[in-house]
């Protein structure tokens, strides 16, 4: 399959395929049914699978998500949609105190095979309560797995892997990638969670990026290449499990690293990744591990301000230049 698909289609195809293959897969969320999702991200599912498997919930995030956990414990494989990542705040109790701990608390006898699918993304003027991504919180909770796909092809295979995984998996989709296209990979290829990939080889610095930041890293790398600086881009794909070996291997070759994220920098995921690299690649580093994240403010709606919130190719390139 060499077809170009959008990120939105990538996830949707994965849902179609997994739902066809396994009747225990169900989808729950707000307006995911006949309406096809507020981002058209569930279009066609309701027509094929009907109201028993594509379940429109009331605006009751915490109860509905808790029910998805109960359904998972009772043998289903729910995919639960939280429309905007900002509303994950309403599911934290069920996520952390129930879903994440059931396997442990039952000594392995019970599992919670569910996917919490949600969106994030700064850049559409949605403002303080509709732009956040809480992957850092989730990554801090033992028992959860965290996936942040960066393109359509990955989104498709990673969603398939997430659905097949027997643990609760959080799947963060950047809305700003929804229309971006990539070449789909083979339909049967299912990737185990926890394998990163090198998107661009380079000898001078390792750019570690997830989700939409991968594209930013790519643009920065092109800019830097014109100056003779060759950046390697590594996308860990999942934050938990984290492909530490791949990251360390790259950094030990390039001797420099910059870790990027689209959520606020402070106490976010870049700290963990940078701390791991700083510790485990200490003797290989020629410069301190750099970090770039969003500014530590709520996200303003104003266009003039919003475009300065997240790392940009120019900021990435500037940070790399300083390291050299």
């Amino acid at each position: 399959m060499a077809e170009m698909i959008t990120f939105r289609e990538g996830v949707l195809e994965a849902l179609f395929e997994e739902m066809r293959a396994d009747p225990s897969v169900i989808l729950m969320g707000e307006d995911v049914g006949a309406a096809g999702g507020v981002f058209q991200q569930t279009k066609g599912l309701f027509e094929e699978f009907g109201a028993r498997r594509i379940i429109d919930t009331p605006i009751s995030e915490s109860g509905a998500f808790g029910m998805a956990i109960g359904a998972a414990m009772a043998g289903m494989r729910p995919v639960f949609e939280v429309m905007f990542g900002d509303f994950m705040t309403l599911c934290m109790d069920q996520l952390v105190n129930q879903a994440a701990k059931v396997r442990y608390m039952s000594n392995g006898a019970a599992t919670v095979p569910l996917v919490l699918r949600t969106t994030m993304g700064v850049g559409a003027g949605l403002g303080p309560q509709h732009s956040q991504g809480f992957h850092a919180w989730a990554a801090h909770v033992p028992g959860l797995k965290i996936v942040v796909p960066s393109d359509a092809a990955d989104a498709r295979v990673l969603m398939k892997a997430a659905i097949r995984d027997d643990d609760p998996v959080l799947f963060f989709e950047d809305r700003l990638l929804y229309a971006a296209k990539a070449q789909a990979r083979d339909a049967d290829e299912s990737l185990p969670l926890g394998r990163g990939r090198i998107l661009r080889a380079g000898r001078d610095v390792t750019l570690i990026a997830i989700g939409r930041m991968v594209g930013v890293a790519r643009a920065a790398a092109e800019e830097l290449a014109r100056e003779g600086i060759e950046a390697e881009i590594v996308d860990p794909r999942s934050l938990v499990p984290l492909d530490e070996a791949l990251l360390l291997d790259s950094v030990k070759r390039t001797h420099r690293a910059l870790v990027m994220d689209a959520a606020p920098l402070r106490y976010g995921v870049t700290g963990e990744v940078a701390a791991v690299l700083s510790e485990k690649a200490f003797d290989w580093l020629d410069a301190p591990v750099g970090r770039l994240g969003a500014v530590d403010t709520p996200v303003p709606i104003s266009r003039s301000l919003e475009s300065f919130v997240c790392p940009t190719p120019a900021r990435v390139a500037a940070a790399v230049r300083k390291m050299m």
């Binding site: 707000e30 109860g63 403002g127 530590d296 403010t297 303003p300 709606i301 266009r303 003039s304 301000l305």
Partner: protein
């Protein structure tokens, strides 16, 4: 939900019943909201509004019927469809529109936009991007008012969609046990996004959602500004007398669908026509003329003036500068 929730208590108390409202003020404010919202719709279509805007055209009677009954010191907490509440509570429309466009002179510096307009000097705890998010804020302001003994009342507005947020039930329960001076106002427009209220809302009636906590609950014709005002005045009297919370279910209609740009294929034309006939402006204009409070010409004059005001606000907001980059990180902490 059964049919009973659709049956509305018709309003329209006469002045003899103690309502000394300034009818023209009600009308003018509703008209201002309508013109404002229709301008926002055009600006949104032109791509000038960042993010999402949710318009309240059609819901002016609930906005104005409630808010204009309040004293200046009373609090409101609004929701994502909240421009009307802000306007009725006194936020200048030029500053409101500048905010919606994300411009520097916006009432929140152009950082917050349509869904997060906080105007505390006017005791507006904010529009809100979280369905149900404003409910505890109002209940908390009521708690503060009670603690201080200063007599203010707080109102929270929310849509029918918020009826199913557990937060509402928690706050109603607390408001009831503590007899808080808070009024819960459900602006029931029949849909939450693209989902019909009936499909996601169980039980015999919406009123029952308040009665279960012992809260006096009433269904109001939300297209009739006087009915809404009368119900609000009742609730206010109870609140100020220390008799605790009230729940008003205002049945109303959002003309423009969920957000500016919604195509609304999930609605049928019948339904739309039925509600359009109840347009709060058209019906109230007829009443005013019939009651000889104004002639059609006088109303036309008001409309002209309102249109001019909105036009000026549009010109102001469009011409206003974007916020300066230096403001990006201001006011995160004190």
């Amino acid at each position: 939900m059964g049919a009973s929730t659709k049956r509305a208590v018709s309003g329209g108390l006469s002045e003899a019943q103690g309502v000394s409202e300034d009818s023209l003020r009600l009308y003018r404010t509703m008209l201002l909201i309508r013109h404002f919202e229709e301008s926002v719709r055009r600006l949104a279509a032109a791509g000038e509004t960042p993010g999402l805007v949710h318009l309240c055209s059609g819901q002016e009677a609930t906005n104005v019927g409630v808010v204009l009954a309040l004293a200046e010191g009373d609090y409101i907490a609004s929701h994502h469809r909240g421009h009307g509440h802000c306007i009725a509570k006194g936020t200048p429309i030029d500053l409101l529109l500048a905010e919606i466009l994300g411009k520097a002179p916006g009432i929140c510096g152009g950082r917050s936009g349509s869904m997060h307009v906080v105007d505390l000097p006017r005791r507006n705890l904010g529009t809100n991007g979280i369905v149900g998010g404003g409910i505890p804020l109002a209940a908390g302001a009521a708690l503060a008012a009670r603690a201080r003994g200063t007599g203010e009342v707080a109102v929270c507005f929310f849509g029918d969609g918020a009826l199913n947020q557990g937060l509402l039930h928690e706050c109603m329960n607390m408001a009831a046990i503590w007899s808080l001076p808070v009024i819960f106002v459900c602006e029931n427009n029949g849909y939450g996004e693209f989902t019909a209220m009936e499909d996601v809302t169980a039980g015999p009636s919406i009123n029952a959602r308040g009665e279960v906590f012992g809260i006096p609950s009433v269904t109001v014709d939300g297209m009739n500004v006087r009915a809404v005002r009368a119900a609000t005045l009742d609730a206010l009297a109870r609140a100020r007398a220390g008799q605790g919370p009230s729940f008003l279910v205002c049945n109303t209609w959002r003309y423009g669908g969920h957000h500016a740009g919604d195509k609304q294929d999930y609605k049928d034309d019948e339904e739309t026509k039925r509600w359009q006939a109840l347009d709060p402006l058209i019906t109230f204009a007829k009443t005013l003329v019939a009651e000889k409070r104004a002639t059609e010409d006088e109303l036309a004059l008001i409309e002209e003036e309102v249109a001019r005001q909105v036009k000026e606000a549009v010109a102001f907001a469009r011409a206003a500068p974007q916020p300066a980059l230096e403001t990006l990180e201001l006011h995160v902490h004190g």
